[in-house]
Amino acid sequence: MSALHGFLGFTLRRTLGAVVTLLAISVIVYVVFYAAPGDVAQITCGQRCSPAQVRQVTEQLRLDDPLYVRYLHFLQGLFTGHDYSTGTSVEHCPAPCLGLSYQSDQQVMQLILAKLPVTGSLALGAMVLWLLLGVGTGVLAAWRRGRLEERILTGVTLAGWATPVFVIGLLLMIVVCGQLQLLPFPQYVPFTEDPEQWAWNLLLPWLSLALIEAAKYARLTRSAMLETLAEDHVRTFRAYGVGERKIVGRHALRGAVGPLIALNANDLGSLFGGAVLTESLFGLPGIGRELVHAVNVVDLPVVVGMVLLTGFFVVLANALADVLFAVADRRTVLS
């Protein structure tokens, strides 16, 4: 009963912490982007706009209001929603409203929601691959520590870590799609349309992301396991005749679970905010590519919305990781 109470309390504390963190992020992001120099009205309106037109845009976008008024307006939109007049009709932007795009007048939230499945597919699939590859390699390296196999594995993972994604991705495309013609060049197909094509088309993006990430996971798994293997309780099980395979697979791997959860949460969270390079390279219409576009045309509401979203996912993933961590290691709740 008290353990359950402690656990609920822990979850509640973490959630509250996450909300506060997000609010802090929103202030910083807003100030950084809106206080940045540059004539937003001129850029939004276009090169050939007359001063009168620019003036009109300035008013329409409320660019004359003081920064804090605009922030409060933005915050109000987040919690209550807004109504926007588009000249002929009134459009309602519901509760978590991130505003309208300067460029397309589309609601930023809708824009993001449209791109999210692409980025989500990429991130989640890659995660499964990098966990399999990375943790597998790490376990093998820890088991075969000090031998030739470990050195080879360590070398390979290091090379993977050191290679930029566009090199691995390009190589994969050239070899698999160009030379061997095993797969067509990737093109995004929604999961809801054709799950099989969805997977085949995402295979190369997944692989290129996973090959890089796997290196981190392999090294973390290996070092966490080696650390546990040097601990006293492992000596106990050795002294009781427990076999090496069980010691590595049961006791040492268990010690690596905590750090793995923490790292994975971080990676997954930031990937949800857009894998800019991977998406651009494979032409995936995800959040990363949209973000690059929005930065180029100074579409501030979109930029702010997407950066906030990244923050949201990182915070969410970390809060989730903390809860998972507490489940994995019950000593956390008590302390």
Binding site: E231, D232, T236, F237, R238, A239, Y240, G241, R254
Partner: protein, 538 residues
């Protein structure tokens, strides 16, 4: 055939020869104690019995036979059969010796299944059975707890249960009670004794504590620098040692039953201005940690006084609040209630007059600063500058028995005892009148312990320092103290002249503590054990 036959055993780690040409036998059901100071190679021998050096790079020579298995020549498979199945090991630190992530019962069951073709259920049942045997209350439920939910004594019982699970012929116990309080230590030693009577297993006990060996074994083997110094029945080795080293070792062991040698009168007391010579006085000290339902009172209404040139001993088991009390006396910790008076005036915060000597001379010195610099810190904090500082540090180093030329050396270049001397020199640098020593010798070997205690005593007499000597070891405290405060659960249960309390304790808790201290006479130890057993029978 003997249970253990060790012939010409040598173990080397690189160029360090940990064990050299050691031979001994242990018969079935007998108990042998390996006694020695740190670095004597005793734990290395224990590991060699189970072949634990294999694959570590250590070079092992000579032959080790345990329960019919030639440990040196055995295959990996045979070795795994020996480990746990025929010879089981109990380690020193019961917290780190169990996997923190799994339930205690599951860990015992795992080991049991290595040696017996049993189902998960049957192995789990066996785990509960042995946990019950070693005295874990409500064993079925507690077997599902993780190690951190157990107290230190219970964890050590759990480890013994693990050893017991496979019914080994030999139990190798490596400092099994060193991390435990004295009353818990007595319980564990009694448990080992009872199990040996019941199962007839042999015991190899590795310990630095001669008293623990006297309580538990038939024969002792005294080791030094990897070699056997003396070997024989426990009564004769401890009663009439033949070797000079054994005699020196035994002489260094503090005795709880011997009053401290009468000290020459402290010379400087006469010029004392304050009343009754009281320097430091604590009244109604209380310290609460945490808030609300989690609040924990570490020290509760403690009042005591320290007089000039006097040593006040503070003893108690872990968690009794002695360290918290020490920190409040020095001003490192604010009391929740009550106060500290220096020369009759209320004080708060740290002041030069009251300084502290810490337990762990390794972690309480900055490893990246030379010892001279560490000792100079309090001087600089007082605003002293220039060559005078260096001269004063040299003086202080010399005062605590160190070579002043070692000013520029770093802590790792010193032995444990020397490091503690540096810690004392640093405390003296501020020019204190009261020195609060928190477990100043518990990390040291007995012979080093004796030297540091001697130094503190000397400082007290010559400088007229008042000492507050906090320790869990009742025997060491007796050697030092004029007066004594016994703490339990944050309160002082007994307070008065030390010899009086040791001779006839007024509080039942003090009496229990004293009865639990191992004695060097095996005959007396057996008697004490019988006495301890009695209340359990009635």
């Amino acid at each position: 055939m003997s249970l253990v036959e060790v012939t010409g055993l040598s173990v080397a780690f690189g160029s360090v020869r940990a064990v050299e040409d050691l031979s001994f036998r242990l018969e079935k059901g007998a108990a042998l104690g390996l006694v020695g100071e740190s670095g004597s190679g005793k734990s290395t021998v224990a590991s060699a019995l189970l072949g634990l050096h294999r694959g570590t790079g250590a070079v092992v020579d000579g032959s080790v036979r345990v329960a019919g298995t030639d440990v040196g020549a055995a295959s990996e498979r045979e070795l795994r059969g020996l480990r746990g199945g025929k010879a089981a090991m109990v380690f020193q630190d019961p917290l780190s010796s169990l996997d923190p992530y799994y339930a205690v019962g599951d860990q015992i069951a795992e080991v049991y299944r290595v040696h017996h073709p049993a189902s998960r259920r049957a192995a789990r049942a066996r785990a509960v059975e042995v946990l019950d045997r070693v005295g874990i209350p409500d064993a079925a439920r507690r077997s599902r707890s993780r190690p951190h939910e157990f107290s230190g004594g219970m964890r050590q019982r759990a480890l013994i249960a693990m050893a017991l699970a496979c019914e080994p012929d030999l139990l190798v116990a490596d400092e099994p009670t060193t991390a435990l309080d004295v009353t818990v230590q007595a319980q564990i030693l009694d448990l080992l004794h009872a199990l040996r009577e019941e199962t007839g297993m042999g015991l190899l006990l590795v310990t630095h504590d001669v008293g623990v060996a006297a309580e538990s074994v038939d024969e002792v083997l005294v080791m030094r620098h990897g070699r056997a110094v003396e070997h024989g029945p426990v009564g004769s080795v401890l009663g009439s040692p033949a070797e000079a080293y054994t005699r020196r070792l035994l002489k260094s062991v503090p005795r709880v039953d011997t009053p401290r040698p009468p000290a020459p009168p402290a010379g400087a007391v006469a010029d004392d201005a304050s009343r009754d010579g009281v320097v430091l006085e604590a009244t109604g000290l209380r310290r609460v940690f945490g808030r609300g339902s989690k609040a924990f009172t570490a020290v509760d209404d403690v009042s005591l006084e320290v007089r000039r040139g006097e040593a006040l001993g503070v003893v108690g088991e872990s968690g009794s609040g002695k360290t918290t009390l020490g920190r409040m006396l020095v001003g490192l910790l604010e009391p929740s209630a009550g106060g500290v008076r220096l020369d009759g005036a209320a004080v708060t915060g740290v002041r030069p007059d009251v300084q502290m000597v810490f337990q762990d001379p390794v972690s309480s010195l900055n490893p990246r600063r030379s010892v001279g610099e560490s000792v100079a810190d309090p001087l600089r904090a007082r605003g002293e500058r220039g060559p005078a500082v260096r001269a004063r540090v040299a003086e202080l180093l010399e005062r605590v028995g160190l070579d002043p030329a070692h000013y520029d050396r770093y802590p790792h270049e010193f032995s444990g005892g020397q490091r503690q001397r540096v810690g004392i020199a640093r405390a003296l640098a501020a020019g204190p009148r009261v020195l609060v020593c928190d477990e100043p010798v518990s990390a040291l070997d007995v012979t080093t312990q004796a030297q540091v205690v001697e130094l503190l005593d000397e400082l007290r007499r010559e400088l007229g320092l008042a000492l507050v000597f906090i320790a869990h070891d009742l025997a060491v405290v007796r050697r030092v103290s004029d007066r004594l405060a016994v703490m339990r659960h944050g309160r002082v249960v007994e307070y008065g002249p030390a010899d009086g309390i040791y001779e006839s304790p007024g509080d039942p808790y003090t009496a229990r503590l004293l009865a639990a201290v191992p004695v060097l006479d095996p005959g007396l130890a057996a008697l004490r054990r019988a006495e301890r057993r009695e209340p359990a029978v009635t």
